[in-house]
């Protein structure tokens, strides 16, 4: 801090404008050559110009950034390469075939697609109303001092690893669904055919409950971020017209942020589609397509988790990798759509939405 004081005042004043030219390299070479080089100028000239290390450093950072592209391309490449056996053998029939028989070498992924789609959609259906209500509560209703703790708790919910959810699911949730929730649902909703005996606890329904808990923090926190961007003037306008708090939330907050909320829901869906461990532990792992939600199912991710290490034969392994490829492509598309929607809202033009 004391060093600058040692330099005589006039000198710094004289050299100050020239020093501006240093970072931009040779922008004004003529000017520097005309003026007699000052002491500081000479000192700086003796030092390296910094252009070589600058270029190296910038290049290094660019390589790091490009490596993200490389990672994605590499994943696509190896997945396609290693699933080509099954791609050639089954073609599009792979996704419509209902038989999964490793012994006879017949592979169709429809039961897994069914299990994945049903459990994820059910999870989203259970999670979205709760997540939105909690987001509204935290943002608009709850007293200031509760805001921090509640968002902290939801963050914790997001930090619990999948395998721990699975452990809890196996020993706590499965018995509850089997003994308490199951009979009640069968009694009142049994006529729909969605909830029927036999109910062993391990089922598509149990998997969706776990998934709902797991995707709740994603949906809640992102929709909260999106709602936060709605300008206060919108809220004030609604309130000034005599709206109640709910009407204000509906008219100005939800309406302005609906695109972003849809984005957050799709993001949650993407998370649910690819969730592996917790689902594998409670869904029962049986490739069936039953209307009964209490029947065991199987998902794309859990069939990979369960059978990959014991896949004997190249075709079997390649079929599993093709499932991975399908999962990858679907989640990429789902995530891309969701990100675009969320970006559309949070990137500045929230006030323009109507």
């Amino acid at each position: 801090m004391n060093e600058p004081k040692l330099i005589p005042m006039p000198q710094t004043v004289v050299t100050a404008p020239k020093m501006d030219a240093v970072p931009s390299g040779d922008a004004q070479p003529a000017q520097t050559r005309l003026a007699a080089p000052s002491v500081i100028r000479q000192f700086l000239n003796q030092k390296s110009s910094g252009r070589v290390p600058d270029g190296l450093f910038g290049g290094l950072m660019l390589i790091c950034a490009l490596s993200i592209f490389v990672i994605v391309l590499l994943i696509v490449f190896v997945l396609v390469r290693d699933s080509r056996l099954s791609l050639h053998a089954f073609g599009f029939k792979f996704f419509t075939g209902t038989v999964w028989d490793p012994v006879s070498g017949d592979f169709g992924a429809l039961p897994f697609i069914y299990g994945t789609v049903v459990s994820s959609l059910l999870a989203v259906a259970m999670s979205v109303p709760l997540a939105l209500l909690v987001a509204i509560f935290v943002l608009e209703i709850c007293p200031q001092f509760l805001r921090g703790p509640i968002s902290f708790l939801t963050e914790l919910l997001a930090a619990i690893p999948s395998v721990v959810y699975g452990l809890w699911g196996v020993f706590v949730l499965v018995p509850i669904i089997r003994d308490q929730v199951g009979p009640v649902l069968e009694k009142y909703l049994g006529w729909t055919g969605f909830f029927a005996e036999p109910n062993f606890g391990v089922s598509i329904f149990t998997a969706s409950v776990i998934l709902a808990i797991m995707i709740f923090p994603v949906i809640s926190s992102i929709s909260r971020d999106v709602m936060k961007v709605v300008p206060p003037s919108q809220r004030e306008a609604a309130l000034a017209l005599g709206a109640t708090r709910w009407e204000m939330i509906r008219i100005s907050v939800l309406r302005n942020s609906r695109i972003g909320i849809v984005g957050s829901v799709i993001l949650g869906l993407g998370r649910a589609l690819g969730e592996t461990m917790a689902v594998t532990m409670v869904i029962g792992n049986h490739p069936d397509m039953m209307k009964n939600l209490f029947a065991p199912g199987y998902t794309l991710a859990s069939v990979i988790a369960n059978e990959f290490t014991e896949a004997t034969g190249d075709l079997y392994l390649s079929a599993l990798i093709e499932i991975g490829l399908a999962l990858f492509l679907v989640t990429i598309v789902v995530n891309a759509i969701a990100r675009l929607l969320v970006w559309a809202v949070t990137r500045g033009n929230a006030a323009r939405a109507h």
Binding site: F57, G58, S162, T244, G324, R339
Partner: protein, 296 residues
């Protein structure tokens, strides 16, 4: 405007009543929803603490797993294995992630390339972890013809990169532009400005991002299933199958033995305490507002 319907006083008050009732109902629903959501969290944490603490002892941390049928034993190999795999993942993932974040914030700001990279990173973040496992399997395990801790570390490193990139970028953009201009104005080369000024100012936030990424992958099981595979024995060789805490929890949880269930709960508690500590630490660091100091 002149066509507003004329309402009687009674209708008016009924409408008001309905609007107020609706308002109160939604408020009540929101409160109930929050309570309902907090229930599973408290249930999970409470049950975990109860089950975990009753199964934790010194042997858990120091002993190897014992064969089925014997009581006792621990998860020393899994704890150490997890540590080694996570260290490898951090060494590989953190520099690349920070580098990419620096490019996005300091070099590429506003360019289409930077936007494309941001978007790719966000999308990569949502790719299921099991797919990363397959990729690492195809890239390393299939080539070497044996499972290895190395492959597990690479899979986790790939998962860390996008998270770290985005937080680094976010933190660097909070560094005021004047600070950079001041450094450049003194004739300091750009790379030096980035390293000693931008990165230094944003350091607490970047460390936060790294720890969040670390906490996220610490509990990942799916990418390790067919890369690190798991190991009942003590192993520090990265070229061999390696035990990891989440893997061990999974294996024990789906097994039919009570003794193994006990160990699974203990492992889950250790895992979650580790993750909670880092997440809470992160919150304390960022909550102090270390970044806002740049403005004065």
């Amino acid at each position: 405007m002149g066509t507003l319907p004329i309402r009687s006083a009674g209708m008016e008050s009924a409408l008001k009543l309905r609007r107020n009732a609706m308002n109160h109902m939604v408020t009540a629903l929101a409160v109930i929803a929050t309570a309902v959501v907090l229930v599973p969290l408290v249930a999970i944490l409470g049950y975990l603490l109860y089950k975990g603490f009753s199964s934790l002892n010194l042997a858990f941390f120091t002993k190897m797993p014992v064969p089925v049928g014997e009581t006792g034993g621990g998860m020393a190999n899994a704890i150490i294995g997890s540590g080694v795999i996570l260290a490898l993942a951090s060494v590989l993932g953190i520099p690349v992630g920070i580098g990419a974040g620096v490019y996005l914030a300091e070099y590429g700001r506003g360019r289409w390339l930077a936007t494309a990279i941001q978007f790719t990173a966000d999308v990569l973040n949502g790719v299921p972890s099991i797919v990363m496992g397959i990729a690492a399997y195809s890239l390393i395990v299939a080539r070497q013809h044996h499972f290895s801790g190395l492959a597990g570390g690479v899979a986790l490193a790939i998962m860390m990169v996008p998270t770290i990139t985005r937080t680094t970028e976010e933190m660097l953009t909070t560094v005021p532009q004047m600070v950079r201009e001041a450094a450049l104005g003194l004739g300091i080369p750009k790379w030096r400005t980035v390293v000693s000024v931008s990165l230094r100012t944003a350091m607490p936030g970047i460390i936060t991002g790294c720890m969040l990424a670390f906490a996220r992958v610490a509990g990942e099981t799916a990418p390790l299933l067919f890369t690190a595979l798991g190991n009942q024995f003590f192993n520090l060789n990265l070229n061999q199958p390696m035990a990891a805490l989440p893997l061990q929890i999974f294996t024990y949880a789906v097994s039919p033995y009570d003794e193994w269930h006990r160990l699974a709960w203990g492992g889950a508690l250790v895992l979650i305490v580790m993750i909670m500590v880092s997440v809470t630490l992160v919150r304390v660091v960022t909550g102090r507002g270390a970044l806002k100091g740049g403005q004065h």
